[in-house]
Symmetry: C2
Subunit: 128 residues, 2 copies
DNA sequence: CTGTATCCAGGGTGATACTG
DNA sequence: CAGTATCACCCTGGATACAG
């Protein structure tokens, strides 16, 4: 069983390596956005729902549960009525957030170039 | 039509913003790995297939086509027999590669912490 | 307010076989 | 070698309604 990728260390290129699964877990736009949103402090469920435009209650909960399970997000429940729940990044989550947020920012910054590339690609297909 | 997110600039949190679609396109483990693999220079189709362990021909081609369409990868065909095709990152792709590769590296670096978090989470569920 | 419970459509993904 | 074509299938992800 080489699931640890030993003795050469972890290698995400190997499908049996745990780091491959971690990478897969991170490959979700809702994970990106959730972690990025929490980057500047704790937020309530409703706040997140409004910030992550278009997310359904199910996906929001599901995403938060995964992040909580993997130690990236901490969930705090206040036993009051109506319910009050807050989410915040753990130290590990904050470490990751710096990277994920850069990707988000990159996506925003390079829209024009990508849009342009797509237009050129389409033209090429028309000619053919 | 606020698809450009104007007048406040692009915002990936808004589902109608083009940057949201870009983020979604990047949310794929095969995109991560393909771009990371190409980071150190051009590669042939077969080389990529071997490097990206477990990828099917279909997914490899599909991923490369998306990256090519969006201007992140350049495809060069040598008209010889047997066929010879090489892929390499464009300038835009290299810019992105730096970020994506950091995520990949992060995934490898933090496996122990995440594994540990999962174990604790499981224990919690058992108690309940 | 913060979720859970269903249901459902759709397509991403893989496996396989095959062609130029 | 590089890629296409097909098929099936899971299962994600969305919509909705409802509960504590």
């Amino acid at each position: 069983m080489d699931s640890t990728c030993e003795p050469y260390g972890y290698d995400a290129f190997r499908r049996t390596c745990p780091s491959h699964a971690v990478l897969e877990m991170l490959s979700s736009k809702w994970v990106y956005l959730t972690v990025s949103a929490l980057r500047h402090g704790r937020m309530r469920n409703g706040e997140l729902a409004r910030k992550l435009e278009g997310i359904t209650p199910k996906m929001l909960t599901q995403t938060l549960r995964v992040l909580e399970r993997d130690g990236l997000v901490r969930r705090q429940v206040f036993p009051v009525i109506p319910p009050h729940v807050e989410y915040e990044l753990t130290a590990l989550g904050q470490d990751l957030a710096g990277l994920l947020d850069q990707i988000r920012s990159w996506s925003e910054r390079h829209v024009p170039e990508i849009r342009n590339a797509r237009l050129i690609a389409e033209r090429g297909r028309e000619v053919a």
